[in-house]
């Protein structure tokens, strides 16, 4: 089925078209939700909620962006709202065990903990920015659409997020430190 056929089917409430949309997008949607929330149960709840909202609002989809971008917008909005509420309710920071939840086995977890730990320590919006750009592979325009902001804002926030991630990783990786601000090319 083409994207147009899937959309048309979804607008008619056709279950086959809905399932096709789900099959084409669910792995990416679930992955980004899991990595933003760092919680298996929450990721499943949010994925279900996002798809139900998408199917209910399919007539509001204007085709300005790809349907996958639109779905990401719904899912990411849900995830950020969830995290805001959770952090407000508990005040609990992300933990190492939550970070482990995104890796399927301990061996892989050992290898990947540095980056997952570091991402876990970032502000949810910074983490979401980095995941949308470097994991999902969205360009600035799509990220702006997903997060409902200007492309220039995406650029500056990504820069901020990269800087913060670099700062967190400093003690884990032997990445080169920033040169003194006076550094000039010869």
């Amino acid at each position: 089925m083409t994207e147009a056929e899937i959309l048309e089917g979804c607008r008619r409430g056709d279950q086959h078209a809905r399932h096709e949309l789900y099959m084409q997008t669910s792995a990416r949607i679930h992955r980004v939700l899991l990595r933003i929330t760092r919680d298996h149960e929450a990721a499943l709840d949010l994925a279900q909620s996002a798809y139900l909202k998408a199917f209910a609002r399919i007539n509001q989809f204007n085709g300005r962006a790809a349907v996958a971008t639109w779905l990401h917008r719904i899912a990411v909005t849900e995830a950020l709202q969830y995290l805001r509420k959770r952090n407000r309710d508990t005040g609990a920071p992300f933990t190492r065990s939550e970070a482990i939840a995104t890796t399927p086995d301990h061996q892989a977890a050992d290898v990947r903990m540095d980056i997952e730990d570091a991402l876990a320590l970032l502000d949810p919006l910074d983490r979401t920015m980095l995941l949308l750009r470097y994991d999902v592979g969205q360009d600035y325009r799509a990220i702006a659409e997903i997060l409902d902001c200007a492309e220039g804002t995406v650029s500056s926030r990504l820069n901020r997020a990269r800087g913060r991630l670099r700062g967190v990783l400093k003690n884990s990786y032997s990445l080169e430190e920033d040169a003194p601000s006076t550094h000039q090319n010869k």
């Binding site: 089925m1 409430g13 279950q15 086959h16 399932h19 789900y22 099959m23 669910s26 792995a27 679930h30 992955r31 899991l34 990595r35 149960e41 929450a42 499943l44 709840d45 949010l46 994925a47 279900q48 909620s49 139900l52 199917f55 209910a56 609002r57 849900e78 995830a79 709202q81 969830y82 509420k85 995104t102 890796t103 399927p104 892989a108 990947r112 540095d114 980056i115 997952e116 991402l119 980095l130 750009r133 470097y134 994991d135 360009d139 650029s155 500056s156 990504l158 820069n159 990269r162 800087g163 991630l165 670099r166 990783l169 990786y173 990445l175 080169e176 040169a179 550094h183 000039q184 090319n185």
Partner: protein, 284 residues
Amino acid sequence: MSCVESELLGRFFDEEVSETERTEIESHLRQCSHCVSKLAELSLMRDNIASVQTPDPPSGLWNSIKASLDSETPTQRMVQSQNLPGSGRFRRFRAVAGIAAAVGIICTAAFWIGRGDSAQAAAVDFTVLLDSISEGAVEAFDRFITHHSGQAIDPTDAHRSAPDLDFEVPADLPGGWRRAKTYRLEFGGSRGIAASYTRNDGEFLATIFHPPVKKENFGTHKDYPCVVGKHRGHSVKIGEWRMMHLTDPTTCHCVLSRVTDDAQLAELMSAIAPRSKPSEGHGH
């Protein structure tokens, strides 16, 4: 030229600069090892972020979405979707499904109430798959996976997950099939494996491996003996779909597909059961 400011260098790395900016930065990079190393750092960061493995969503997720869609009127669905806080819905579904399953309304939802319950299914219940296959093979396969407590696994863990079975889940199968997902299944304390495959044209194929138990439930569907290449087995045909079983003393190898060419079927069977010998049939 001074070093490239970090935000601009980030936009250059992300290919979000104008042609003029790109030309200037490339010119600068030819003579600035510092900025080159900053780009390498960005590349390392991107690769690390993208390389983290996560599990696939469970096949039951679609079932829960579908059940919610089926159980709500359009008005209810609109109101609920606008009011949902974003969490707890999946858990609420499982609670509701527990009641529904108790009165026999939603059998597959039992998976979400207690995965151990459906794991107690003693027979290999193909009726779950075959009864609804004409409505959609992918959905029917998902139902079968859910019914037998399917858990998505890494393909490299398949043999470790079902050590008593002799099978293969190759990344590619003859005929242009590419592996999509691999699952561990439960059959009343025994383990099974299943894998889904897709072709470029969207065609679906599934393989299922289970212990050679005698209780294969095909419901009202007739199971006929058949010969595939040098192997003997049995098959069930529903419309265009055919489920082939190649049997041997350790493993029942099943292929669900719309393939009709016997030579291609024989190639498929050889790929998923390369060590099975013609004389080893267990004779369902």
